[in-house]
Structures are given as structure tokens and as C-alpha cells.
């Protein structure tokens, strides 16, 4: 394994709700190396959303140390974290979060719009590359309302790829999709994994864990399982076995 992309040391996160203190994370520690495909699973209330927010630098831990690509995040200001997100992280959301009335290419360009080092031609070129990488080379000028759910999620993945991030964070990325499309997206994630991308996939769906290289299971703010998947299934093979009539 290569160097660590993510290192968590005894991460705790408390929320104060009224008079009570809710302990969402109670000392979580793990490290993720470059090129891993990690599934973080857990039921609702297990703290996986809180963990995702911390991993994505949207939130900071109450205590503990978080290093993203070797950079300590905890002491950073809001705008420093914004810049860090811009350069190091690609988000993929359950509900795609594409900009309305905006073309696929423009949606993918969005993260680069906030990077002053990248000019408009470079931005366009990289957006096109990312769209080709997710198989949407013929959908670049389609607006978000002219695409299917699977296509929209591909655009969102392309958007997560375009800044060449250290880690891709997927939050229930297949949650809104039908089974066939879900496997298409999983195939895409596996392809990206083979190309050497680091992917963290947060989900409550245990099936996904069969297709990732490592699984972390959370319950009540603790890690209850952290295991390497010895038998990674191919999403492509599963996809072939799916009945065709589910196709739209």
C-alpha cells in the first residue's frame, strides 16, 4: 500500500442539542491509503453522516486529529477548508446536486471555477476529459433536466473527478437509482478504483460492500468492523446476471 491519504486519530464529535450533548462519534481512528475503495456502512444514527462531513472537511471534529493528504484539517479556518475541498476532495451526492438549467460540461467545470489557477480553456479541456472518463462524451451539452438519473449521477462523478482529487467521497451515490443503474454506477467506481483513485463510499446498503476493497462498519459512533474484502466481486458480472426487463 502507498502513503496514507486519510488519517483519523481518535476523532470525537459532540453536538449540543438543547441541554443535552449528543456524542455522534466517540473516538474513531483509521487510515486510508492511496488507491483504496472503502465502504463505510452503518444504520441511521451510527454517525456515518457526521464522519462523512468530517472527512469532507465540511465539519471539524470536537477532538482528535484528521490529516487529509498529510495536511492537518482541525485547525483550519472555514475558507482554508473550502480551498482544501476544492483541491483535494470530490463529492458525489445521493441526489446528484447538479445545477438546474446548466449543461453537463458547465456542471463539471464548477469546481474549477473556484480555482483561480485554471484558465477557461484548461477548465473546458479537463471537464471534457472527465465526461469522457464517465462515458458521457455524447452528452456534454445536455442540460441537467434532459438526462436520466444514471446520467446525472455520471455527471456528478465527472464533477468529482475534474479537480483530480486525493479522495472521492460518495454519499449513498446509488441510493436514488434503480438496480441496473446502480450497478452501472458501481462499475464506474470500480473502473476508477482500478485507475488508482481513492474512493470512500458511505452507504447503509450492505450489498455495496461486496464490490469494495475494504469495509468499515459503524455503530453508535464506534467502529465495530474494519476488514479488507478478500473477495471483491465484479459489478460488471453482477450487472450481466440482472434480468434485462428491468431496463428502461
Amino acid at each position: 500500500m502507498g502513503k496514507y491519504v486519510i488519517e483519523l486519530k481518535d476523532i470525537r464529535r459532540d453536538f449540543i442539542v438543547g441541554d443535552e450533548t449528543v456524542h455522534a462519534l466517540r473516538g474513531v481512528s483509521f487510515a486510508i491509503s492511496e488507491g483504496e475503495f472503502v465502504t463505510i456502512m452503518g444504520t441511521s444514527g451510527s454517525g456515518k453522516s457526521t464522519l462523512l462531513n468530517i472527512l469532507g472537511c465540511l465539519d471539524t471534529p470536537s477532538s482528535g486529529e484528521y490529516l487529509l493528504d498529510g495536511i492537518p484539517v482541525k485547525s483550519m479556518s472555514k475558507s482554508q477548508r473550502a480551498i482544501l475541498r476544492n483541491r483535494k476532495i470530490g463529492f458525489v451526492f445521493q441526489n446528484y446536486n447538479l445545477l438546474a438549467k446548466t449543461t453537463a460540461a458547465e456542471n463539471v467545470e464548477l469546481p474549477l471555477m473556484y480555482n483561480p489557477d485554471i484558465g477557461s480553456s484548461e477548465r473546458r479541456r479537463r471537464a471534457e476529459e472527465a465526461l469522457i472518463a464517465v462515458g458521457l462524451e455524447d452528452r456534454m451539452e445536455h442540460k441537467s433536466n434532459q438526462m436520466s438519473g444514471g446520467q446525472m449521477q455520471r455527471v456528478a462523478i465527472a464533477r468529482a473527478l475534474v479537480n483530480n482529487p486525493a479522495v472521492i467521497l460518495a454519499d449513498e451515490a446509488t441510493g436514488n437509482l434503480d438496480t441496473r443503474t446502480s450497478y452501472e454506477i458501481l462499475m464506474l467506481f470500480q473502473k476508477l478504483h482500478r485507475e488508482g483513485r481513492t474512493i470512500i463510499f458511505v452507504t447503509h446498503n450492505p450489498d455495496i460492500s461486496n464490490y469494495s476493497s475494504r469495509n468499515i462498519r459503524l455503530r453508535d459512533g464506534h467502529i465495530i468492523e474494519d476488514a479488507v474484502n478478500g473477495n471483491v466481486l465484479s459489478a460488471e458480472e453482477t450487472y450481466r446476471t440482472l434480468p434485462k426487463d428491468e431496463d428502461d
Partner: protein, 406 residues
């Protein structure tokens, strides 16, 4: 910060909501157009009044007999007989700041010529009268010093008189008209001046030597008043003072006694008119300014709605690396774009409306460059001011909450 990109983002956001952006702009458009039109109208009125006054003769000083008390009863000033021929002659001889001076005495009655007649009045004046009042002779000539000395029965008439007494001929020179049994030979016709701003016909005029009017028609030794003109407008005050000193001496008034005459200069009239029209302009500008303010509040309202409606978009932008300041700048640019575009359209609309009023309705309008610049500046300021709070609200959103917002 990358301004070009933020500008592009804002432009895109606005173009995604064209109708709303336009309706928001409408408030500003109407406000700016109103400000420009109202100020142009006010200034136009002011200038046309100023021109009217300077057409009457900008340095004119008018002396009238003052009201007096007789046994506690305040008398009508026109009844007073305090301005005498010798007063006039003293003024004429002694005043140094005057370019011209002329008394006037008016006799009313019916003018008759052949079987035409017309009710008017004859004004007895000195020869300076036409220069003081900025009249000019179109045809024939003005009467002379000799005519005044001899109380000659001659007159100079205006266009209205010509039209009414000589409907059939173009050339009334040399014809004789009768006024209250006194025959007057027409020796000149005045150039037409039209109506003045008070709606008075300035061509309904018959001028005769003041001696003729006073001796032959009225049989009096006092004037209705004296007109004079200062050498320049700046000397009006000095000339007024000079006239006052001489008249007080002539009337043997002691120190502390009130003047028994009144001196009015066009300067006063012009100042008064200026004040009135400035007040009018300010009033109009205030009303228009309020509509601009309402337009600004419209922007704020829409920007607030927009921030709420686009909460999720803001969350996404933050998650892909937009800083608070980027979001804030984006919304500020949107607000300023709306207000400035609205401002430009408003300026064009306002100027067009002014032109339309000028050429179609013939209203006096004068577009002031300063009002255009002012309203444009105000627009930008309004955009920033009313865009500030919604933009700050957007920038302060928590990305986690914003992303989860439904």
C-alpha cells in the same frame, strides 16, 4: 479571488431566471427613468422661466410709488402720485450705473382706426424704453427726443394692434389711429414677442412719448412707474441703491422714514423664480427618489427569496470549494448587475421620455448630465446596499445544512 469566473457565475444565475431578473429590474428602471425625467422637467421649467425673465430684460429695475397711509387708511400704490417728472429727470441726470431709464404712464381706452376698433392701452415712455424691455422696431422707427419735447402725437404699435386695427394692410406706417379723441400717427411697428410665461400678450402694446400721454391724454404730472436698466446684471444692486438714495433726497425723506416708493429688480424676480423651480425640482426628485428606493427594496426582497430558493445550490458550491466570500461576491454581483442594468435601461428610457416630451408635447425639458451620473451612481450603491444582507446571509450558510435543505 477570480472575478471573471464569479462574474460568469452571476451572469449565468441571472440568465437562468430572466423573467424574475427583469421584473426586479423594472423597479430600478422606473425609478431611474422617473428621476431623470422629473429633474429634466424641473430644470427645463427653470430654464424657460429664466429665459423669459432675461427676454424681459435681465437688468431691469422697476420703481413704483409706494403705498401710503392717510389717516390710518392704507392707499392703493397706483393712486399715489409721488413719482414726478422732476424725480425722473434727477434720476436720468445723476444715475451712473444705469444704461437706460424711462418712465411709464398708462392710459386705457379704445383704439379706433377707420371702422376697426380695439380696446387697449397707450403706454407713455421715454426712448430708452424699447432697449430696457428688449423690444425692437421691425418697421419704421421709434419716436425721438424731439417728439418727447414737443409731446408729438406719434406712436409705435405691436403686432396684435396691427392685426386688429389694420386687418387689410401690411403697412400701417403713416396711418393715424385715434385714442380717446387723440389722433396718433403710427411711425413704427414692434417685432412680435408672443405671449410671456404669465400668459400675457406682449404684442398688445402701443408706445407713445410720455409727455404726450401725460399732457394730452391723462393731464397728470406723475408716472405709474419708472423702468431702468443697470449697465450689467452685476450692477443691479448698486443701481438700485443709487436710485433709492436719489429718490429719498428728491422726496425729502428723513432718516428713519420709510421709503414712499418701491424698487423691484428682475434679479429679485429671477431669484424668487429660481427658488420656486428649485423647490419644484427637489420635490419631483424626492418623489422619483422614493420610487428608486422602492426598487432597491424590491432587489433586496428578490435576493432574499433567491438565497432561500438556492440554498441547496449554495451548499453544493461550498462543498466543491466556494468560500463564503465567493458566495457573497456572487450574490453581490447579481444584485449590482440587476441594479446597474436597470439603471442603464432607466437612463435610456428617461432620456427618450424627455425627448418625446420635448418634441411631441413641446414641454421644456433639460437633461442634466449630473442627474444621469447621480442616478447611475445611486443604482450601483443601491445594488450593493440592498444586495449586502442577502449576500451575507448566503455566505454565512453552513454547507452541511445547506446541502440538506429541502
Amino acid at each position: 479571488m477570480n472575478w471573471t469566473n464569479l462574474f460568469k457565475i452571476s451572469l449565468k444565475a441571472l440568465s437562468n431566471n430572466k423573467m424574475r431578473a427583469f421584473l426586479t429590474m423594472l423597479g430600478i428602471i422606473i425609478g431611474v427613468a422617473a428621476v431623470i425625467t422629473m429633474i429634466a422637467l424641473g430644470q427645463g421649467t427653470k430654464q424657460s422661466i429664466q429665459k423669459e425673465i432675461s427676454d424681459m430684460g435681465s437688468n431691469i429695475i422697476m420703481v413704483h410709488p409706494g403705498g401710503d397711509r392717510r389717516g390710518g387708511v392704507r392707499m392703493d400704490p397706483s393712486e399715489m402720485q409721488t413719482l414726478k417728472v422732476q424725480n425722473y429727470e434727477a434720476l436720468k441726470d445723476e444715475c451712473m450705473f444705469l444704461a437706460g431709464i424711462s418712465p411709464y404712464a398708462t392710459a386705457s381706452g379704445q383704439l379706433v382706426c377707420g371702422n376697426n376698433n380695439y380696446p387697449s392701452s397707450v403706454t407713455g415712455t421715454d426712448i430708452d424704453y424699447i432697449t430696457i424691455r428688449q423690444l425692437s422696431i421691425e418697421d419704421g422707427s421709434m419716436f425721438t427726443e424731439a417728439d418727447i419735447r414737443s409731446s408729438a402725437k406719434v406712436c409705435v404699435i405691436g403686432k396684435t394692434i396691427v392685426d386688429n386695427l389694420f386687418p387689410d394692410t401690411d403697412d400701417p406706417i403713416g396711418k393715424v389711429i385715434r385714442f380717446n379723441q387723440v389722433p396718433l400717427k403710427v411711425i413704427g411697428v414692434l417685432e412680435s414677442k408672443g405671449y410671456n410665461s404669465m400668459g400675457m400678450d406682449q404684442d398688445d402694446i402701443v408706445l407713445a412719448p410720455y409727455t404726450t400721454v401725460m399732457k394730452r391724454m391723462l393731464a397728470v404730472t406723475h408716472f405709474n412707474g419708472i423702468f431702468a436698466s443697470a449697465i450689467t446684471e452685476d450692477m443691479t444692486v448698486l443701481a438700485t441703491e443709487e436710485i433709492r438714495t436719489i429718490l429719498r433726497r428728491e422726496h425729502r425723506l428723513k432718516d428713519g422714514e420709510e421709503d414712499d416708493f418701491m424698487i423691484r429688480s428682475q434679479q429679485e424676480l429671477s431669484d424668487m423664480m429660481d427658488m420656486t423651480t428649485n423647490l419644484l425640482t427637489t420635490l419631483l426628485a424626492c418623489i422619483a427618489g422614493i420610487s428608486l428606493l422602492v426598487g432597491g427594496i424590491g432587489i433586496m426582497n428578490i435576493m432574499y427569496v433567491s438565497v432561500t430558493e438556492r440554498t441547496k445550490e449554495i451548499g453544493l458550491r461550498m462543498s466543491v470549494g466556494a468560500r463564503g466570500i465567493d458566495i457573497m461576491t456572487q450574490f453581490l454581483i447579481e444584485a449590482v448587475l440587476i441594479s446597474v442594468t436597470g439603471g442603464i435601461i432607466g437612463i435610456i428610457l428617461g432620456c427618450s421620455a424627455c425627448m418625446a416630451m420635448k418634441f411631441l408635447a413641446h414641454w421644456p425639458v433639460y437633461i442634466m448630465m449630473s442627474s444621469v451620473i447621480l442616478s447611475f451612481t445611486v443604482c450601483t450603491v443601491i445594488g450593493i446596499f440592498f444586495g449586502w444582507y442577502p449576500a451575507r446571509k448566503a455566505a454565512n450558510l453552513d454547507p452541511i445544512d445547506a446541502l440538506r435543505y429541502e
